[in-house]
Structures are given as structure tokens and as C-alpha cells.
């Protein structure tokens, strides 16, 4: 059956000698990813999950967050590269680095590396909004880092410590920032984490080996292989035949097959994914004008009520998938006690709202129109996503019942990016990966983000009341209540139709113990997974 994974603390223990002896010599884990991680180096990952996941094995964060907990406050994180920290004043934090930390070439990790990385981020980061609140970073001594912020806010610790994955200054200082991407370091990264880069076979795989002298303890996995297989079906087949050990994004259709597989175990973990249909506020062919259909909030509400969202969530992501009413993924479950309670669909009310808003079927073709404009909606989504295809097909059918005609635009990723960033869409089915902290809502839903490029607020949504509530919540004492107010406001304005907050369903080979999967950085504790000696496979010996 499914093993419910408890979101426990990341305990940094040294594995006892006895335990080490019973671990198979070359415990191996093979993980098939959809795209080759060509840049598994912090600051250069372009936020591709493959790059980030691989980088997490080689480069430590300053501190790591505890899954499921709020990321506000100074106790929100657990130590990693930084063994402790303390606050000097509301604007300043001081971190003490672990003296034992070493780069894989032997050089000790020092505060200078942190400062260097911060400076490099300033020069190269394509998205500066994350760095904006930080005023300055400097080294007080070789193992102490002082970070000064521009203003007081509750998530200072998270903003700096989790996002900071130091790079080795002694190896990169003399390389021009533009050249790092093609440097020898990029081809063979040297990190400070539990695994070291072993070799890459271009187009096929990257292999990592355990760093046996890792200061937090010898990894109980010896070999990590990231294998690139673009086709999701083949990834599944490779897992079922035992060639790979992890299968993520398990499709609901495949669950019965995997349940039946004696060698597999399904792990359900809360994920930070959020699936929604985004209404564009601007006209797609002329972004200086407002959208002719969606600028009326009654239409947005009607289109939301016309859908049976729990059914859609269930068919696309599996039974029991939570359905939110606002931008809330499972990693923000702490905001609403008692789980997600989506407002039910209401076909009658949807029709009434559309009639109120002036939409009638003047020519009897089954599609509503108003002033000669038919209720014709273009729904755009990437061709690579099977769940979104399922969502789109159902949305199309359900909207037909209220007289809205949806045209499905299933497009390749290379074209979607241009259209999304250029605001050339009616409705876009997006899957957003939420930050652990709700203040990140400003990046995609604030008026500031609507009017300044670069931005992820593709629809250009702007609501001043919402912004005000977010500001209040950032420093409120009762965090959950304050953020509930924020989400309520969003729900009442219907900037998007929120379809699902899916879980992360991962299938793992049965021989692994101590499997913990994290909400947004899934494999942070891969190095502590253990192979049961009695269940070892040939590749583990």
C-alpha cells in the first residue's frame, strides 16, 4: 500500500559504523528525467527542475526548510551548511558556517564563498526580484557571514538561507561570469555536497558518486544516475522493468499497474504544484485594450461555476486530489485548517450570471453572443502535458453546456513561451510551482508585477485590495488568518479557475528505506535513502 511519508525534520546524523557495514557496497539509484540537465550549477539552472535536482546533490544550501512548516520566522529552517544563526537587529542576520564543510577538492568552505556567490548572483541573475530585499552580504571572519536586509519582514531567513547555495570562489573568481556556462567547471562541477560529479555521457546520462568524506556522514547511496528519457511512457516502462528506481509524476491511469508491481512502492507527498486556468485581462491581439470577454467578473464567475472541478481534478490527477479556490497548493495547506473545501459548481447560477452580463444566443447556434461577439474562448496548453489535455477536454465539454465554445490550442513549448510572455492568449492552463512562502504571491498576482517586466503575472491581473491584504499578511502575528483573508479576496475576484493542488505521486523501488520526498526540492535527502541489504539488486553490489 502507499506509504504515507511523514514530513519530518531533516536530522543530520552520522551513520553508525554498524549501519554502514550492512549497507551494500555500491547502492545505486537510477532516476529517469525528461530532459538532460545541461547546467546543474546553482545560479545557472534556469529553474529547470532537472538542473536543480542534480545541483541539490552536489551543492548544499545554507539551511533547509522543514517540509510542511511555515517558512516565516527565524526557526523555520534546519541547519545545513550554516550550523547556526542569530539575529542582531530587525535588519541583520549573522550565520555561522560549519567548520567541517569542505569542497570536493579539499578546500574548506568559507564565508568568502558565500559573499562571492552573492556578488555573482547580482551580476548574472536574470530575475533580480528574489535578491531585491537584501542590502548587503559580507564576511565577518572566515566562517561568519553577515546579511543585511533593506526592511524588516518575517521571511528574511528563508529568503537568504535556503536560496543560497554557495559556489566555490577559489575556482570561479577568475572566470568571467559570462564564461562560466561554458567553462570546465560547468562540464565537471566541484561541489560540497554528499555526491560528486563522476561523468556524463552526452544525451544519455549523468553519474554521481558518493563523497565518502562528506562531513555530515557517508551517504548510504553510493551511485546516483540521472538518465534522460524524453518520453513519459518509456520512463514508466523502464521503471516497470526495473531499469530505473524512481518514477515521478505517475499518471493516474498507471496507478493500478504500479500497485500490482510487487517491486514498487507508491509514495504520496504534498507537492507545491498548483493547476489553474488563467484568464487574460488584456485582449490577446492588442494588449493595450482590456479583454472583451473576461473583463466582466460575472463572466469569470459563471465560467468557474459551470465546471465540476472535483471531477476534473480527479480524472486528471487521481482520486482525492484537493481542489483550491485560490492560489494555494498543498505546501500552503497550513493556511486553511481542515483541508481544502472548494465551492461547488452551479450550472443554473452560471447561466443566470451570463444572462445578467448580457450574453444571449441570438442566432440559435448554441453559442452565446453579445453585440455580435460570440462567446468563443481559446484554451491554450502545452502539447507535452497529458493531464492538462484531459483538463482541457473536460472544460470544453462542460462549457458547452452553458453556451461557451472553447477551442483547444495544444501547442508546443517553444511557441507557448512567446505567447504567454507576450500576453497573446485567452485562457492558459498553467501549472505553477509555488514557493514555500506565500509572500511569493506578489510575483504573479500583484499590481507591481502586472506593470513591470520581467514578470510571471502573464495575465496582468491587478487588484489593489489584494495587494493591501498581502502587505498586511507579511507582518501579521496570526499568519494563517491573515493569509486566509488574502486567499478569500482572490477567490472572490476569480482571476483564474483553480482546478487542482495535486500531490506528488512518486513510485520508488521497494528496496529503499528512509525515503523522504520534499515538496519543492524533492530529492534533498536522497543521500540518506538506504538499500535494504536483503533486497539489494545486482547493480547495488
Amino acid at each position: 500500500m502507499t506509504a504515507r511519508v511523514s514530513a519530518g525534520l531533516l536530522l543530520l546524523t552520522i551513520i553508525t559504523p554498524a549501519a554502514a557495514q550492512s549497507v551494500p557496497r555500491h547502492a545505486t539509484i537510477v532516476y529517469a528525467v525528461g530532459r538532460e540537465p545541461t547546467m546543474p550549477i546553482p545560479l545557472f539552472t534556469a529553474m529547470f527542475t532537472e538542473n536543480e535536482d542534480l545541483a541539490d546533490q552536489m551543492f548544499l544550501h545554507l539551511a533547509v526548510f522543514k517540509p510542511g512548516a511555515q517558512v516565516t520566522g527565524d526557526n523555520a529552517l534546519a541547519p545545513a551548511l550554516a550550523k547556526s544563526w542569530h539575529r542582531i537587529d530587525p535588519l541583520t542576520l549573522v550565520f555561522d558556517l560549519d567548520h567541517r564543510a569542505r569542497w570536493q577538492d579539499g578546500t574548506p568552505v568559507s564565508a568568502h564563498d558565500v559573499v562571492f556567490t552573492w556578488q555573482l548572483a547580482n551580476k548574472t541573475a536574470t530575475d533580480q526580484s528574489r535578491l531585491e530585499p537584501i542590502a548587503g552580504v559580507d564576511a565577518l571572519d572566515p566562517w561568519t557571514v553577515r546579511v543585511r536586509f533593506k526592511r524588516p519582514f518575517l521571511e528574511q531567513l528563508y529568503t537568504f538561507a535556503f536560496l543560497m547555495q554557495p559556489l566555490p570562489a577559489h575556482l570561479l573568481e577568475r572566470v568571467p561570469p559570462d564564461a562560466i556556462g561554458t567553462s570546465d567547471f560547468a562540464k565537471h562541477p566541484i561541489g560540497n555536497g554528499p555526491f560528486r560529479f563522476d561523468h556524463r555521457v552526452p544525451g544519455q546520462l549523468v553519474e554521481l558518486r558518493a563523497d565518502t568524506s562528506f562531513y555530515l556522514g557517508r551517504p548510504s547511496i553510493d551511485r546516483v544516475i540521472f538518465r534522460f528519457v524524453t518520453d513519459a511512457n518509456t520512463r514508466q516502462n523502464l521503471f516497470l522493468t526495473g531499469e530505473t528506481d524512481i518514477l515521478d509524476h505517475v499518471a493516474p491511469a498507471s496507478l493500478p499497474q504500479i500497485h500490482d508491481d510487487a517491486a514498487a512502492r507508491i509514495v504520496n507527498a504534498p507537492s507545491s504544484d498548483l493547476v489553474y486556468l488563467l484568464f487574460n485581462t488584456r485582449a490577446p491581439n492588442d494588449t493595450s485594450r482590456i479583454h472583451p470577454i473576461f473583463s466582466d467578473p460575472r463572466v469569470r464567475e459563471a465560467l468557474t461555476l459551470a465546471l465540476d472541478r472535483p471531477v476534473i481534478a480527479r480524472t486528471s490527477y487521481g482520486e482525492g486530489t484537493p481542489v483550491p479556490d485560490a492560489a494555494q497548493s498543498q505546501s500552503w495547506a497550513w493556511i486553511t485548517a481542515g483541508g481544502f473545501k472548494p465551492a461547488p459548481g452551479n450550472l443554473a447560477r452560471a447561466k443566470a450570471l451570463l444572462a445578467q452580463a448580457g450574453w444571449r444566443d441570438a442566432n440559435g447556434d448554441g453559442v452565446l453572443d453579445k453585440n455580435g461577439l460570440p462567446l468563443h474562448i481559446n484554451v491554450m496548453y502545452p502539447a507535452s502535458s497529458a493531464p492538462r489535455h484531459t483538463i482541457a477536454l473536460q472544460v470544453q465539454q462542460m462549457w458547452r453546456a452553458v453556451g461557451a465554445e472553447a477551442e483547444l490550442d495544444r501547442i508546443e513549448g517553444s511557441v507557448i513561451r512567446g505567447r504567454v510572455f507576450g500576453g497573446q492568449f485567452d485562457v492558459w492552463i498553467n501549472v505553477a510551482v509555488q514557493d514555500p512562502t506565500p509572500t511569493s504571491l506578489v510575483q504573479s498576482w500583484s499590481c507591481q508585477s502586472a506593470h513591470h517586466l520581467p514578470t510571471t503575472n502573464f495575465a496582468g491581473w491587478c487588484d489593489s485590495t489584494f495587494d493591501r491584504l498581502v502587505g498586511v499578511a507579511s507582518s501579521a502575528k496570526d499568519q494563517p488568518a491573515a493569509w486566509r483573508a488574502v486567499l478569500s479576496r482572490m477567490a472572490s475576484q476569480h482571476p483564474a479557475i483553480f482546478i487542482a493542488a495535486p500531490s506528488s505521486i512518486v513510485a520508488v523501488h521497494r528496496r529503499y528505506d528512509n525515503v523522504i520526498i520534499w515538496p519543492s526540492r524533492a530529492w534533498l535527502s536522497l543521500w540518506q535513502w538506504r538499500v535494504r541489504p536483503d533486497a539489494a539488486l545486482p547493480r547495488d553490489r
Binding site: 545505486t28 537510477v30 538532460e36 545541461t38 534556469a46 529553474m47 529547470f48 536574470t126 530575475d127 556556462g181 561554458t182 555521457v201 552526452p202 544525451g203 544519455q204 546520462l205 544516475i225 538518465r227 528519457v229 524524453t230 518520453d231 518509456t234 516502462n237 523502464l238 516497470l240 522493468t241 531499469e243 508546443e412 513549448g413 517553444s414 511557441v415 507557448i416 513561451r417 512567446g418 510572455f421 517586466l453 520581467p454 514578470t455 510571471t456 547493480r539
Partner: protein, 312 residues
């Protein structure tokens, strides 16, 4: 012969130009493949776009023989193509070989024993195989032989866990093991064509007076077959070869997708989706050259097999 080669080269060149111009039609750009959903400032985007080759630059590069860099993989296109040539050639050549030898043998055999149950059965099976899309055959093979029986791997070209210093023999076996299912899919999907050609050719030849005369003299049917029927039956094979060379390289796309066989077809499909223009041009060029090579080869073999026949 020389003129024919010159023609082939000229055609290849012009075709390449047309291909490059066609690619210009493509909307979208590689930004998505390189940056994903990551927002970047407009000036950064502009800088990145500038960095990528423009159409005149591509032409200039091609004239110099430089295929450029893949935008997504950040490696020379030539290197990537070289890596994919091996698997493509392996799958294509073996399919051709099996198609033509089995097709020839079965075709002649069913021509000599027409209207028997066995011949009809063979005919029916190959027609069904031809009628089924190759990717369906692939899917079914994976389901039965890889997932249910665990006899063969479901995809890929080799075992990733094979250590780099494994013996040549074990690596060869591993490659063949991975080749089995894709090859089976390709052969099943395509065998009907050469087989039917061979059968018609052999049937036509078997009706010739001199063959009948030989049989009347008491020469055994088997001997008759192999001495008189197979050579004329080669002519259509050769014509077919000219048409099939490119078909096998590009027609393998669907099978390559199902098995994730790293051939040029899969590469092209992926590169087109990514809008990795230099890579698409490189792959397309490869196919164009393959087409020309195929028809050249066919012409040469034509003359070898039947120098008496007039070149149509």
C-alpha cells in the same frame, strides 16, 4: 556516372537551401527550451536571440562546412549528429538487410508455391503487418515482450549501468538485446513491400517460356527457382532500394519515438519541437544526403544487376 553524381550533389544543395528557407517559417524560438518558464528581462532576451545564428549566418556557415552549435545542448551539431548516426545506421541497415533477404526468399518461395495455405498465410500476415502503423507494432511488442515477459528492454540503446570498461562482447550483446524489439517492429511494418515485389517479379519470371522449358526438361523446381528467378527478381529490389533508403532513415521516426532509440528521426522530432534550428538543419541535411546516396546506389546496382535494361 559522373554526371549522375554531379546531379545528385546539385539536387542535395538546392534541397538544403529550400529546407533552410522552410525553417524560417517556424514560429516560436528556442527560448523555451533554454529558459523554460523562467522570466527574463526583455533586453536579456534580445541579447540571447542575437547570440543565436541568423539565416545569413547559417548559410555562411554551411558554405564553410560548419554546421554550428546546437542551441539547446550547447554542443557542436556535428558531434550530436555523429552520435546519432550509429544507431540510425544500425537500425536502418539491418532492417533493409532482413527485408530484402527475407523478402526475396519468401517472395520467390510464394511465387513458386502460389495458392497454397502457407503462401496465403504469409501474404496475409505481411499485409496486416504493413497495415498496422509501426508505432502500434512497437507498442504491442513492448507490452508483450518487455513488460509482460521481461525478455527484452522497453527502450533505449544500451544499458546505462554497463561499466565503461566492460568487454566488447558484453557490450555487443547488450546492444543487440536493445536492438531486437525496434528491429522487429521495423521489419514487421515494412516486410510486405519487398515481399510483394519479389513475388510479382518471380511470378512473372516463372511464367517465362525459358523457365517452363527448363522445368519441362526435368530440372527440379528448386533449382529452377534459384537459377532463373532470383536474378530478374533483383531488379525491383534495386529500384525499391532507391526509394527506401530515405524512407528507412526518416520512416523510423515513429519507431524511434516509441523505443526512444537515439536515431536521427528522434533527434529531428525533438529538435523541431525545441526550435533548435542548427540541429534541425544538420539532421535534415543528413537525410537529404541519404536520399541522394540511396538513388545513386540504386543506379549503380541497377547497372550491375541488369546492364542490358534501358535506363528509364
Amino acid at each position: 556516372m559522373l554526371r549522375r553524381t554531379g546531379d545528385a550533389i546539385a539536387t542535395a544543395l538546392v534541397a538544403s537551401v529550400v529546407l533552410v528557407i522552410l525553417l524560417h517559417l517556424l514560429p516560436g524560438d528556442p527560448l523555451a527550451a533554454v529558459l523554460g518558464d523562467h522570466p527574463v528581462a526583455p533586453d536579456v532576451e534580445a541579447r540571447m536571440r542575437q547570440h543565436w545564428a541568423t539565416l545569413p549566418a547559417i548559410f555562411g556557415g554551411l558554405l564553410r562546412g560548419d554546421l554550428g552549435q546546437s542551441i539547446v545542448q550547447n554542443r557542436p551539431v556535428a558531434t550530436i549528429l555523429a552520435e546519432h548516426l550509429g544507431p540510425t545506421f544500425l537500425l536502418g541497415a539491418l532492417t533493409l538487410l532482413i527485408d530484402f533477404t527475407a523478402g526475396l526468399a519468401l517472395g520467390v518461395w510464394s511465387a513458386l508455391h502460389p495458392d497454397t495455405m502457407r503462401a496465403r498465410f504469409v501474404g496475409a500476415v505481411t499485409i496486416v503487418g504493413y497495415a498496422l502503423p509501426s508505432f502500434v507494432i512497437g507498442m504491442l511488442l513492448v507490452w508483450v515482450f518487455a513488460l509482460k515477459l521481461h525478455w527484452f528492454p522497453p527502450g533505449g540503446v544500451s544499458d546505462v549501468l554497463l561499466s565503461p570498461d566492460a568487454s566488447f562482447a558484453s557490450r555487443l550483446v547488450d546492444h543487440l538485446w536493445h536492438l531486437a524489439l525496434p528491429l522487429a517492429a521495423m521489419v514487421i511494418a515494412t516486410l510486405a513491400v519487398p515481399l510483394r515485389q519479389q513475388r510479382s517479379a518471380a511470378l512473372a519470371t516463372a511464367a517465362q517460356p525459358w523457365v517452363l522449358a527448363a522445368r519441362a526438361r526435368g530440372i527440379s523446381p528448386g533449382l529452377v527457382a534459384w537459377r532463373h528467378c532470383w536474378r530478374p527478381a533483383l531488379t525491383p529490389i534495386v529500384t525499391l532500394l532507391g526509394l527506401w533508403f530515405p524512407m528507412l532513415v526518416a520512416g523510423a521516426v515513429f519507431v524511434e519515438v516509441v523505443f526512444q532509440w537515439p536515431g536521427v528521426g528522434l533527434l529531428l522530432a525533438q529538435a523541431t519541437a525545441d526550435r533548435d534550428v542548427p540541429l534541425v538543419i544538420g539532421g535534415g541535411l543528413l537525410l537529404i544526403i541519404a536520399v541522394q546516396l540511396g538513388s545513386l546506389l540504386a543506379d549503380v546496382l541497377y547497372h550491375v544487376v541488369d546492364p542490358a535494361q534501358r535506363h528509364a
